[in-house]
Amino acid sequence: MNNFIEINDFQIKRNERIVLDIEYLSITRGETLAVVGPNGAGKSTLLLALASLLKPVRGEIRFDGKSLRELDELEYRRKISFVFQSPLLLDMSVEENVALGLKFRGAPRDEIKAQVEKWVKGLGVESLSKRRAGQLSGGEAQRVSLARAFVLNPELLLLDEPFVALDPPTRAKLLEDLSAILGADHRTAVFVTHNLNEAAKLSHRIAVIVDGMVRQVGTASEIKRAPADETVKAFLSELSQ
C-alpha cells in the first residue's frame, strides 16, 4: 500500500508536557482518515502538526515519501489546506474569501474567477458571493470556509471539527455535501471530530486518540466491536451517554 502520509515516532510538547506521542500512523493517497477522541486528546494538535504549524521535539512526518524537514515549509503548505472549527473568514466578500488561497499562490485572475465560481456553486453559496463574511449565518460561513479550502485543490485536506458549532439540520446537510465531495474527488483528508457516526460516514478509517496517543485505528464497527484498550472503551462509553 502506498503511504501518502507517514508519522513516525512523533512527539510534540507544550509547556514541557507531551501532548502528542504517536508511534506510527499512516494515511494512503485518496483516503479520508477520521480522528476521534475526547476533549484535549491531541486531535487538533495532530492536525496542526500535519500542517507543519507545530514542530515536533522528536520524530517526523513524511509527505509523499519526503520528510517535512526536507521540504520547503511554504511549498508544503501550498499543497495542503486547513479548515478550522470556526470559519475564520476575513472581513471581505464571500468570493474574496474563497479566492484568498489562490491569491497567496499568485494564481492568474481568470483561474481564480473560474475556480471560485466552481466552488461557491459546489458548496451551495453562489447566491452569497457578493455578501460580506460578517453577514453570513454559521452554516453559510462554514460552507464558505470549506469552499476556500477546496478551491485550492489540496493534496491533503485537514478538517478540524468543521461542523461543531452548527445546528443539527445544517450539520447533517453539510456532512452529506462534504461526504459527496470527498467521495467524488478521492481526496486525501484528515477529519477531526467528536462524533463517531460522522466519522463513520465521512471516512475510510478512524483513529482513536486518547491522551495524545493513537490507541486504535480501524472502521467504526471494528472499534465499537473490539475496543483496543480501556481508554478507547471509556471514550466509547462517554460518547454513548
Binding site: A51, R77, R78, I80, D91, R148
Partner: protein, 213 residues
C-alpha cells in the same frame, strides 16, 4: 503670515513624527503581538509604560542627547525642527506600538494559523492580519498623532520655541499666554483644536467607511 508658518511647521513635524512612529510601531507591535518568547511580557509592560511618557521627560532626555556636548551633539540638531521630530517620535512610537500589539492580540489567535494553513507566506499573513485589524490600527495612528500635535513640553525643550524656526502652535500658545496675550493664545488654541479635529475627522471617516464596507 507668522501664524501660517507656525501652523505648517506644527503639521509637518507632527505628521512626520507620526509616520516614523508608524514605521517603528507597526512592525514592532506586530512582532510583540505574534511572538512568543521569553521577556515578551516585560517588553510589553515597558511599551505600555512608554505610552504614558510625560513629554517634558522625553524633552529633557532628548535635549541631553542632542545638546552640543551630548552623545549626539555633533549632529547639531538641538533647537531645530528635527529635534522636535525626534522627541515627538519618542512620544508617539510607544503609543503606536502598544496599540498595534493590542489591535492584533484582539484578533482570533487562530487567524494567523488559518492564513498559513491556506498557503500564505509570513509576509502575506501579516499583511492580512493588518487588514483585519485596520480599524484599531487607524485608531493607533490617530492616538499617535494626537499625542504629539498637542504636546508642548518636549517641543519647547528641544526646539527652543525660536521664532521662524522651531515655533509650533503649542509653544506659541505658551509664549502668548506668558506675555498676557490671552486673545492671541485663545486664537492659536482654537486653530490647533480645529486642525486636530479636521485631521481626526478625516481619519474617522476613513475608519467608518472601512467598517461599513
Amino acid at each position: 503670515m507668522e501664524i501660517f508658518e507656525i501652523t505648517v511647521l506644527s503639521l509637518q513635524v507632527s505628521t512626520l513624527a507620526t509616520l516614523i512612529s508608524m514605521l517603528i510601531g507597526l512592525p514592532f507591535g506586530t512582532w510583540l503581538a505574534l511572538g512568543s518568547f521569553r521577556g515578551r511580557n516585560i517588553i510589553l509592560s515597558v511599551i505600555n509604560t512608554g505610552m504614558a511618557l510625560p513629554p517634558v521627560v522625553v524633552g529633557l532626555v532628548v535635549a541631553i542627547m542632542l545638546w552640543r556636548s551630548g552623545p549626539l551633539g555633533d549632529l547639531r540638531l538641538i533647537y531645530t525642527p528635527w529635534a522636535i521630530v525626534i522627541a515627538q517620535t519618542v512620544i508617539a512610537a510607544p503609543v503606536v506600538t502598544g496599540l498595534t500589539a493590542a489591535a492584533l492580540e484582539a484578533l482570533d489567535p487562530r487567524l494567523g494559523q488559518q492564513l498559513l494553513g491556506l498557503g500564505a507566506s509570513r509576509v502575506q499573513m501579516v499583511w492580512y492580519l493588518w487588514r483585519e485589524a485596520r480599524l484599531p490600527l487607524l485608531a493607533a495612528l490617530m492616538a499617535g498623532f494626537g499625542s504629539v500635535i498637542s504636546e508642548v513640553g518636549a517641543s519647547m525643550m528641544v526646539g527652543g520655541n525660536i521664532r521662524g524656526q522651531t515655533r509650533v502652535l503649542t509653544t506659541a500658545i505658551v509664549l502668548e499666554t506668558s506675555k498676557g496675550e490671552f486673545g492671541q493664545a485663545l486664537a492659536l488654541s482654537t486653530l490647533l483644536l480645529v486642525l486636530t479635529y479636521l485631521i481626526n475627522l478625516t481619519l474617522t471617516w476613513i475608519q467608518q467607511r472601512g467598517q461599513k464596507k
